[in-house]
Symmetry: C2
Subunit: 301 residues, 2 copies
């Protein structure tokens, strides 16, 4: 699992900072999360292949989280994309995109599928054999969802020494990986636990931006490996955070602590502060494992 | 009159090139012409004050000419703008912008006025005491206008030697600048031509992008000081230019020649070519005064 931060600042794009967008590589899938203005250029800068993105998740319809989407969709067309693209985002996103494609007479030459969200409850929005994506209803000035990305438990790993020792033929390997016991030709039953190791622990990533401090999300993200939680402000601006339905670094840390997250990544910084190190310092007074998002930075699990 | 090129490349924004946008400073007015994705960052890079832009002219609704507009409008709001903003562009642009403001619940705190264009004939779209802006109907895949910016003829300049020589009081100066003759106390009539010099020659700028080679525009832009004409392709790709309703450098030069333009600026380059110098070389075989647009370049008259 690899997370690339394309942009992690609040409000407007500037010469040196970008609005929210991230790419999550998980089990060979590449998910784009939010898509502020300039995201397609950030993808190029970070050498991420456009063609590998097949799913885009949009948290909410504030400009710093989706104004780059129409440009990306158009560029995909210009580059001759033929693979389907799936957009998950708040109700209304389809109307915005389709209106612009219609007025510019620039329909995509690939399948463009919208999965519009309007539930106030957490729901599964994407699932395949390897990954599950669930919404995390957030509390902001417009309808907003975070997203929880979970790897599914994989196959058990073969203990090759044991397998060879029992002279088991390779045609049984898949069965063993699936957890089955094996009956040998001489009638002996070999327990699966003898022939395999536990599968690699599945990882999880929770993206929570934008939101006020909102404890309702804790049961959904409990025990998550990495929690990205917005921290637009420092605690000195907590009243402004409450008013604008954003969070402080301290509040993000409190959520991480209560949810028993392994690590916390802070982001969505207001540009009013001189150094983002202040966010880390503040959050660490509550929760030890704090990392700072930065445009162009990658995190690997 | 000063022209700043914010972006002059066709199709998609890239790490080193930007889609179409320009700022024209004329008689202390600052007009934004087209607004591709990333324009607000380009404005910052080129240190152009956001607050000085009160009019935006959009040629057509292809993304590389307007996808940056919604972001700019939103940023103006976030920066606390209170001055009215006027948008001139094809019918439909209002619906695109308003839909996004509505869905993001982010109405502007300043007056936002749309002047939607749908005429196939050239028409005046902006006029004040100093400047006149007229559409130049172009021929492209969607409804498209270029824009002709003309300074109005200014006041006559006082010939201070002659004025003092005739002992004319300063309360008459404005009359004289307006072209009136003056009757002295002794009854003599002094002709205005004795008391003044001709006003500074008014300048004009024509922006023509995107369009196929289209001679109908020649009467509208005749004798223009500077013609910006798109040259997406070189003559080697003339059939592609015809098919996509774009122009070649040679065709742009032919228009400049026939319109008796003083100078030609080329732009809207396809990124398929190794060097934009090729565009200049080609155009110069037809028309001598060729300049190349480049992102961040300024032209002063």
């Amino acid at each position: 699992m690899k997370l690339t931060i394309l942009g992690c600042y609040a409000a407007t794009p500037r010469t040196i900072t970008n609005p929210t967008s991230q790419v999550l590589e998980i089990k060979n899938r590449m998910f784009l999360i939010d898509c502020g203005e300039g995201t397609q250029v950030q993808l190029r800068k970070n050498k991420i292949k456009f063609s590998k993105i097949n799913q885009v998740f949009i948290s909410h319809l504030h400009g710093d989280h989706f104004f780059g989407l129409i440009g990306l969709i158009s560029t995909f067309s210009l580059l001759g994309r033929t693979t389907d693209l799936h957009i998950y985002g708040p109700k209304g996103i389809k109307e915005i995109i389709i209106l612009q494609l219609r007025l510019s007479n620039s329909w995509t030459n690939y399948g463009l599928y919208f999965h519009e969200l309007e539930s106030e409850e957490s729901e599964v929005v994407f699932e395949d054999d390897k990954v599950l994506v669930t919404t995390i209803p957030l509390k902001h000035r417009v309808y907003t969802n975070g997203f929880l990305f979970q790897e599914k438990v994989g196959e058990r790993k073969l203990n090759m020494d044991a397998v060879l020792n029992h002279e088991i033929e390779s045609c049984y390997y898949q069965k063993i990986k699936n957890g089955k016991d094996i009956k040998l030709d001489d009638g002996r039953l070999i327990a699966n636990s003898v022939l395999t190791f536990d599968p690699i622990e599945p990882k999880s990533y929770a993206f929570c931006s934008d939101t006020v401090f909102h404890e309702d999300i804790i049961p959904i993200i409990e025990n998550v490996d990495i929690l990205y939680h917005e921290s637009t402000f420092l605690e000195s601006e907590v009243s402004l955070a409450n008013k604008t339905l954003h969070s402080t670094a301290k509040e993000a840390a409190r959520i991480a602590l209560k949810a028993n997250a392994k690590q916390l990544i802070l982001g969505h910084y207001s540009t009013r502060y001189e150094s983002i190190d202040l966010f880390k310092e503040e959050a660490k007074t509550i929760f030890p494992e704090v990392l700072l998002a930065e445009d162009g930075k990658t995190f690997e699990l």
